[in-house]
């Protein structure tokens, strides 16, 4: 003990650590009373970021940044017991960061912690939110399987919708004319160098500002922020009633962060990262690119809005959201902080959470995606194995009808459920629809022989709801 203590005394003497860092560690923070557990999400985000840096470095030591080898190196990592766990932790760490930074942003928004003098705290936080989303996106792409490859293509196509610079931006993302050798290196550099560098810089600034402006006190209805008197009031309040950050408040941050890290590690071990898909071979056409869960709602939103809005939303949606985050502290920099006096803030959060929740749900169902893997209808559904109805069921599958239309639980849900087509439509009506098509259904005028049409109509006419069966089953993807 004596040696250790003497060593520390010497280090402290020559470095001055406890004199410089001690006051920072024990600076006074407001008592948060009932809301004290709401202050742990920012530090938990930081804790998981550190987890991401650690596991990311570990993964990068085996990952090969080459479009041709990345997939094989990921197979290698996944087949190693520890490697697959590290991948799992990195994946669930990314998920946890998205969730925690989201909660942290909602908390600071509801408590109006962005008001004077913490406007730049908010702005740096908004930048960190954006960087975190970019990390999630680029990280998903580095899983350079078929999904990762097509994510790059779809991202370039979406960036291509940007006015004026779209064409250049799209090819900039791909690092060339086509998605190929240079593409992955570009995203790797972004994921492990560019964006993390910005995260470190903004994180440092963000933490500095937290210390500089002090932790925001819990809001109280009827106690508005007046920029002229706030600082004086805040420091007087701290002097009277503040508690040292370490350990009074910090233990809560560490305790919650520990729980989150345990959860992330457990998920990494027992659930694991998403399995690798097929290799990133552009000639394997059987691909249905879908984003990871954190972008599923956005993917769904883009799929469900009216077509004329699409290009506006792809470009305008993120722009409007970013503008809102930037302008908020400038236009709402003073006044009431309590959510009770800012009911619209609760409404906005409820609205955003509902929208995201709804589109997440739809993203899981993906009703707009044809089920191109739908198997031919089994005899139990068709009812017969020979004759025109059975032939019609075969045509129903071969012509792609089944990819979009459900029959007794088989097929897609893009178009109307045809389990009871015979109850709802006459033979002539069905034939008309097959010939005319619709907004989302091709016209089969030139794509169907008279014989095929006859048996298909026989089959569809035979579709009736039998009393007990035919409950709609929406197969999730």
């Amino acid at each position: 003990m004596g040696v250790l203590r003497r060593t520390w005394a010497w280090i402290d003497d020559v470095t001055g650590l406890s004199a410089s860092l001690g006051p920072i560690l024990t600076h006074l923070v407001p008592r948060a009373q009932k809301t004290r557990w709401l202050y742990v999400f920012g530090s938990a985000t930081l804790a998981v970021f550190i987890v991401q840096v650690g596991t990311g470095i570990a993964l990068s030591s085996a990952y090969v940044t080459g479009s041709g080898q990345a997939y094989d190196s990921l197979l290698f990592i996944s087949r190693s017991r520890v490697g697959s766990v590290i991948r799992g932790i990195h994946y669930f760490g990314a998920s946890a960061m998205i969730v925690l930074i989201g909660i942290h942003a909602i908390r600071t928004y509801l408590m109006a912690s962005y008001k004077h003098p913490r406007q730049v705290n908010w702005l740096t936080g908004a930048a960190l939110l954006m960087f975190t989303i970019l990390m999630a996106f680029t990280g998903q792409l580095l899983r350079w399987d078929q999904g990762g490859f097509w994510t790059a293509v779809v991202a370039a196509e979406q960036a291509g919708k940007t006015p004026f610079i779209g064409h250049w931006l799209g090819h900039f993302l791909l690092a060339g004319d086509t998605a190929g050798g240079a593409t992955l290196s570009r995203f790797f550099a972004a994921h492990v160098f560019f964006i993390p560098a910005f995260i470190f810089a903004f994180l440092g600034f963000h933490l500095y500002l937290v210390l500089h402006n002090g932790i925001s006190e819990p809001p109280k209805a009827g106690r508005p922020v007046d920029p002229r008197t706030y600082r004086t009031w805040y420091h007087a309040m701290l002097k009277k009633d503040g508690v040292p950050f370490w350990p009074d408040a910090a233990w809560r941050d560490l305790f919650f962060a520990m729980l989150i890290v345990i959860l992330v590690v457990m998920l990494g071990i027992f659930v694991g990262a998403p399995a690798l898909g097929k290799p990133p071979d552009p000639t394997i056409i059987q691909a249905s690119p879908r984003p990871d869960w954190y972008f599923l709602w956005y993917f769904a939103l883009l799929s469900m809005i009216p077509k004329w809005m699409e290009n506006f939303v792809i470009v305008g949606g993120p722009a409007v959201f970013g503008l809102f985050l930037i302008l908020l502290p400038f236009f709402g920099g003073k006044g009431e902080r309590s959510p009770l006096r800012r009911p619209w803030s609760i409404l906005i959060v409820a609205f955003i959470v509902t929208i995201i929740g709804y589109y997440w749900h739809m993203g899981v169902l993906a009703p707009w995606s044809p089920r191109m893997d739908a198997p031919p209808l089994p005899p139990a559904v068709v009812g017969v194995t020979t004759g025109s109805v059975a032939d019609g069921a075969r045509v129903f599958h071969q012509k792609g009808c089944e990819y979009c239309h459900l029959v007794s639980g088989y097929g897609g849900i893009r178009g109307p459920d045809l389990s009871d087509a015979g109850d709802r439509m006459t033979r002539a009506e069905i034939a008309t629809r097959i010939f005319s098509g619709a907004q989302n259904m091709p016209s089969y005028t030139g794509n169907m022989s008279p014989q095929d049409l006859t048996v298909l109509l026989d089959f569809l006419e035979s579709r009736h709801l039998k009393p007990p069966a035919a409950t709609k089953r929406f197969p999730p993807r």
Binding site: E157, A179, Y208, L211, P282, T283, P289, E310, Q398, G400
Partner: protein, 179 residues
């Protein structure tokens, strides 16, 4: 940081003579020199780095063989694969590009990019239905590339083709991105 630190910092600032003091001309000159040195050094590194980063790798457009004319049956559409015009050594499988090749008659061929004109997902060919279908949002194209239904508003992009010495050749093209 505690408020005391700010105040101390404030006082320290006042102790430093500003540019308005008698020797201000020299100080403001040295300030300008210092900033200019930093800016020059930064530019020396930043300009070539940015140039390298922002520059796009442009591939030449070259003709790649797809196969003998007789290998493709009239009236069929098949997937063909061809290599990038200048594949990077480490590109591996990603140096390949796929296209749909349709032989319309004895003499006429058509090659379609596999990318749906909506958001770029790979469309699949349904031979029995004579349709291309996109798995992402259900865009459908007729066999000749016209939009049949769904979100796309442009026909499938076509590649230039030619026949030389009985070999069908395709001209490599950039990934079609709507600008």
């Amino acid at each position: 940081m505690p408020v005391e630190t700010q105040e101390t910092a404030g006082r320290a600032d006042e102790a430093v003579p500003s540019g308005l003091t008698p020797d201000g001309t020299r100080r403001s000159f040295l300030t300008a020199v210092g900033i200019a040195c930093g800016a020059l050094a930064t530019a020396l590194v930043a300009v070539p780095s940015a140039y390298f980063l922002l520059g796009l790798r442009e591939s030449p457009r070259v003709w790649r063989p797809l196969g003998k004319v007789d290998d493709f049956k009239v009236g069929t559409t098949v997937e063909v694969a061809f290599a990038d015009p200048s594949p990077l050594p480490w590109a591996g499988v990603t140096a390949q590009t796929a296209a749909w090749l349709r032989r319309e008659s004895e003499t006429a061929f058509k090659a379609f990019a596999v990318n749906c004109t909506h958001l770029g997902c790979p469309v699949r060919w349904l031979p029995e239905a004579d349709l291309f279908m996109c798995p992402c949002h259900g865009g459908v194209f007729y066999g000749d590339g016209r939009v049949a239904s769904g979100p796309p508003d442009r026909p499938l992009i076509t590649y230039p083709l030619r026949v030389r010495d009985g070999i069908v050749e395709i001209e490599t093209s950039p990934l079609p991105i709507a600008g």
